[in-house]
Symmetry: C2
Subunit: 192 residues, 2 copies
């Protein structure tokens, strides 16, 4: 149950057997069927979830009510609305399972307790938030600087496991394309 | 020299006199005249700067080459391109002083050394990155959900000290308005 997460966090921090025990104690296992909302707009996010198994999508609604996909997350990624989680303010996002999921979750209280008992994990969470910020910045800059083909190739590079698991219209909503336009980009690339 | 920064960080973490000495030792004082680029697109960001005195603007160029202001920062704010700083990759941003500035800076090496010597500061930097991420998310969501007047009022709330120190066209480029349109919004509000 903890083998994937323990391997994952060892990339960020070194820890003693006692510290990893505290970490694993703080986690709660949740199994969630596909097409379930973990969070909806207006709710306060009460989890940071590590995905043991499954696929999750984060999105928001634009001014016309259209879904804009912010992020996909699969095995060994973390998912949350970090701003809502930490400031305990209503979220603007939806977080939805696309497949049956097995998650290891922290809530605000268990995370704070973990960090008090084992401050070595502060570093890990700092590095995770930094990566998150970095990706969000990249998304903003790519929106203005890459052409359609480059955007799709960048997507494939960052999400190599996703295209076979996720409906095409979700990928289109991540890229800011219509599904028809995404199809054209894919056809053009396949011919190359 | 260190009184403002030490008071600022005490909001985030508690530390011993030895730890704060290590922190202050890691900082480098820089005085920079106004209208100086601390960072330009394509360069790798080598600083995280706490502003003791002065005003700074962060912006990027959109697909038409127009400036989009990302952030203003004044006394007791931190400024950096965190993604570029931590991944040591070329930045997409410009960071420019708008006034003569006195800065306390960390570079990647001094920051890592600081965190090795005094890991209690991991928490502070995590909380700073979280706030940064939270503001960036809010900017994205406000772009789609607030009307022009609300955007300007939100700006005044988050940057109460800025309007009297910064040229109006910079504020317009933060809000995504033309300078003329910002002027109209201000006139409308003044009449209320």
């Amino acid at each position: 149950m903890f083998s994937a997460i323990n391997e994952n966090i060892s990339k960020y921090v070194s820890f003693t057997p006692e510290e990893i025990a505290v970490f694993n104690d703080a986690l709660q296992l949740k199994t969630v069927p596909k097409k379930t909302f973990l969070l909806q707009e207006g709710e306060i996010c009460r989890f940071e979830a590590f995905i043991n198994k499954g696929c999750i999508r984060t999105y928001y609604l634009d001014e016309k009510g259209a879904e804009v996909t912010l992020q996909f997350a699969i095995e060994h990624w973390w998912v949350s609305d970090i701003a809502s989680f930490h400031e305990q303010k209503p979220s603007r996002m939806f977080i939805e399972t696309l497949e049956d999921c097995e998650l290891l979750t922290l809530n605000p209280e268990s995370k704070e307790l973990l960090l008090r008992k084992a401050p070595c994990f502060e570093r890990m969470f700092r590095l995770l938030v930094q990566r998150n910020l970095s990706r969000l910045q990249e998304r903003i800059f790519h929106t203005i600087s890459l052409n359609a083909t480059e955007k799709y190739l960048d997507f494939l590079e960052h999400y190599p496991g996703i295209p076979n698991r996720v409906a095409q219209h979700y990928i289109a909503s991540y890229l800011g394309f219509s599904p028809e336009f995404l199809s054209k980009v894919r056809t053009k690339l396949a011919k190359k």
